[in-house]
Amino acid sequence: MNAYAKRLLWPVLILLALIAVNIVATGVDFIVPSVNDDGRLGGAFVNILRRSAPLLLIALGMTLVIATKGIDLSVGAVYAIGAAIACQTIIDAPDQTAGGLVLAAVALALAATAAIGAWNGVMVAHFGIQPIVATLVLMIAGRGIAQLVTGGQIPKVQDASPFTELGRGAFLTVPIPIWIAALVLTALALLTRRTALGMLLESVGGNPEASRLAGIRSRGITVLVYLVCGLCAGLAGLIGAANLGSADANNGGLWIELDAILAVVIGGTALLGGRFFLLGTAIGVVIIGTLEDTIINVGLSSQWQFTAKAVVVFAVALLQSPEFRGWVLRPLRRRPEAPAPAQAEEAAS
């Protein structure tokens, strides 16, 4: 567990620093949850968590995919498809408030997005196409498919429909999106760490050939992981759409795949596959969410968030590059005998 703690140290410190900046800028209210008049938990930080729920879901799926040396660029488009299917099903029905209808719409959307995820997995595992290429197809076509579902309109679900509760409701005063995100995080953590799935994933991502020779069914595992990723993206789309009460095929979940990859990398999972850290990813997501608020709280316009993210991507990418670290640290490390600094470094990080 020590290795895990070490991996999480930096993300936690960054998050604490961001929170500290916000507290300085806006006061302690930033972090302390308040109970709104309607009995729901509110406050700036709770809102960040609530808004980050879709990103968290996608980032969790992405973590598993990246652990297998893969990547899924289609999640933003799958998000839009999930949202479109659910909203369109609901508005096509005569009575949008029927509970059974909402359940059916949700089930339909999730089944479709799981199938899309499995398709990505089959392309990667069985056709041997590079993940970035295989998922690019749906990244390009996916939003078109979502448009097809909605007929080019933006379907608006009545506020009275129970569907909107997925995004706006609360259970035991805690917003439902937070519940869902927490449940999925727990479920995936249990699924990967209580079963052997996590270890086999890390094995397939860490050394595919050794895994094959050890007799691991890597194709089945790969398909499963992409399926889970698609499912997570679909669920994220549902929450996003329920929160807005509508599904925008063009802009729903736009660039969320990039945010998700960023969160995964901040959380300590390497893009090269192998060891993965679901909790780290969760912290990465909260960092991104907090960053967006921080920018506004320190008095910058919301447009700065793109620039800030660019800086974060740049910093993280460079810090993960051994060549960069070598280049920066070279003046500091001029010792006559430095046996295997790389190994020592790897063991420490």
Binding site: R194, N207, L213, A214
Partner: protein, 506 residues
């Protein structure tokens, strides 16, 4: 005579984080001479070449180029000084034309533009110079690997090479292609180039080399004129006698007489094109069968077909009396076949994972991901095997990449012993590990076979094979040429004689 050598390396020492890869090696290259560097895997041949061409720096000794000490910053600098290398894998790009590959970076130009006509003419001349006639406008990928290799040589020669290093250039060529390549080498030598030839095909080495330098375990064994070094002496020098204080492994009499045991593995005409000629091999329960042969003789390939790591394209395999179909590592493991591959790091272990995780991997794979090995049982098993095999440090949560080679090998062995296979296939399990771990592993093999497990044992060390095996299959040039019964008086010399005698006529 020494002054005739344009390149002279003396007392070269190279350490890799605690492992001495080269220990005081000398090499002198003379113009017009083909010099073979011989040795088994890990003997230090490629390290020596990499030191010469500046890929690695050296820790002691010196390299003299025309009498001047030099130290190249990399292959490019070596090339500029007239030392070119052609590697086993053709380092050209298949998507460009033959002419472009020959002249990339030095294309004849008209102003800023490439003059394709002049380029094709120049390329044709170059190929003519080594006696090859190709359509230089065709993409390189349209030609066989052999032709690509010749193009690589033509390119190297064009860079006014004083020294041309050929690192296993013939390993994927057929007989006729090899003849052409050897002809080109002779022609270059006649023109005054100094050539270094690395090959594991003895026939080829004897056909062209004027002189040989033999390395073993990073140390220089000696330098001979080819005429003074008969084949069996060479093989003896390369494989050596392990003088180290290995314990004599005492085999129980019962284990030694299993000739009447029921056959577990029956391979008939099993083969794979381009990797191993069809062979027949039987392994009985409780028997250790050794696979002996030089590097590249097909010993690994033989084992991989039985392990299901590669797909056979001819013959049939029966295991425990049943015909084996749809053979792959997973089904093989399910049948009770365990395979520890030759290359621990790239094919065996997952470096990121811990000792315990690596050990449990095969057992977990057979159970599927949903049925995790219960933590308590896992910890117990892992602790038992760490103890039994003496794995140090005895920390199950240590990432396996931080272990030494010998301990890594033991982790790999433990992975398969955990699933209690019927057949254990070990490909060079003792290569590159220290003497203590070597003895441990040899003792373990003896114990396992005494308990009734069949073992297929690949090793480059003849002493080891002779000591451990009940029967020895001898391979040469990708063919299984003989199966020897391990009688009490069988020695490694017998195997060497079999290898020498069994070869095709050069």
């Amino acid at each position: 005579m020494p002054d005739a050598a344009p390149v002279r390396m003396t007392g070269i020492v190279k350490d890799f984080t605690g492992v001495r890869a080269l220990d005081g090696v000398d090499l002198a290259l003379r113009p017009g001479e083909i010099h073979a560097v011989m040795g088994e895997n890990g003997a230090g041949k490629s390290t020596l070449i990499k030191v010469l061409t500046g890929v690695h720096g050296h820790d002691a000794g010196e390299i003299l180029l025309d009498g001047e000490p030099v130290r190249f910053s990399g292959p490019k600098a070596a090339q500029a000084a007239g030392i070119s290398t052609v590697y086993q894998e053709v380092n050209l790009t298949e998507n460009l034309s033959v002419a472009e590959n020959l002249l990339a970076g030095r294309e004849p130009r008209l102003g800023p533009f490439i003059n394709f006509r002049a380029m094709r003419r120049r390329a044709t001349e170059l190929l003519d110079g080594i006696g090859v006639d190709l359509n230089v406008a065709a993409p390189l990928g349209a030609y066989s690997i052999a032709v690509q290799q010749l193009v690589a040589i033509a390119r190297a020669v064009d860079i006014e090479a004083k020294v041309l290093i050929l690192d296993e250039p013939t390993s994927s060529l057929d007989r006729d292609e090899v003849e052409v390549l050897l002809g080109v080498m002779r022609r270059l030598a006649a023109d005054g180039t100094a050539l270094v030839f690395i090959s594991h095909f003895l026939d080829q080495v004897y056909a062209v080399a004027d002189r040989m330098t033999v390395l073993r375990n990073g140390a220089l064994v000696g330098e001979w004129a080819t005429a003074d070094l008969p084949q069996n002496a060479l093989i003896g020098h390369m494989l050596g006698r392990e003088a180290a204080a290995l314990e004599q492994i005492e085999r129980t009499a019962a284990a030694h007489h299993v000739a009447d045991g029921e056959p577990l593995v029956e391979a008939v005409g099993l083969g794979r094109k381009g990797s191993i000629a069809p062979y027949d091999l039987t392994v009985r329960r409780g028997e250790v069968v050794g696979l002996a042969g030089l590097l590249g003789s097909g010993r690994t390939e033989t084992a991989r077909l039985i392990a299901g790591a590669d797909r056979a394209d001819s013959g049939s395999l029966r295991f425990a009396g049943r015909r084996v179909g749809g053979h792959n590592p997973r089904t093989a493991a399910a049948r009770g076949i365990a395979f520890c591959p030759e290359n621990r790091k790239t094919e065996g272990l997952v470096g990121d994972l811990t000792v315990a995780e690596n050990m449990i991997l095969a057992m977990q794979a057979s159970r599927g991901w949903a049925r995790s090995v219960p933590p308590a049982r896992r910890d117990k098993l892992v602790a038992a095997f760490i103890d039994k095999l003496g794995i140090r440090p005895a920390d199950p949560d240590m990432p396996v990449r931080n272990l030494s080679g010998g301990n890594q090998q033991k982790v790999l062995l433990a992975r398969w012993m955990l699933v209690e296979p019927k057949l254990l296939i070990l490909d060079e399990p003792t290569r590159g590990i220290d003497v203590g771990a070597k003895a441990d592993i040899q003792r373990l093999v003896a114990e396992l076979s005494a308990d009734g497990m069949a073992v297929l044992f690949v090793s480059a060390e003849l002493d080891e094979v002779t000591r451990l095996s009940d029967r020895i299959a001898v391979l040469r040039d990708r063919e299984l040429i003989a199966v020897l019964e391990a009688e009490a008086d069988l020695t490694s010399e017998h195997i060497v004689d079999t290898i020498v005698a069994g070869g095709r006529e050069p």
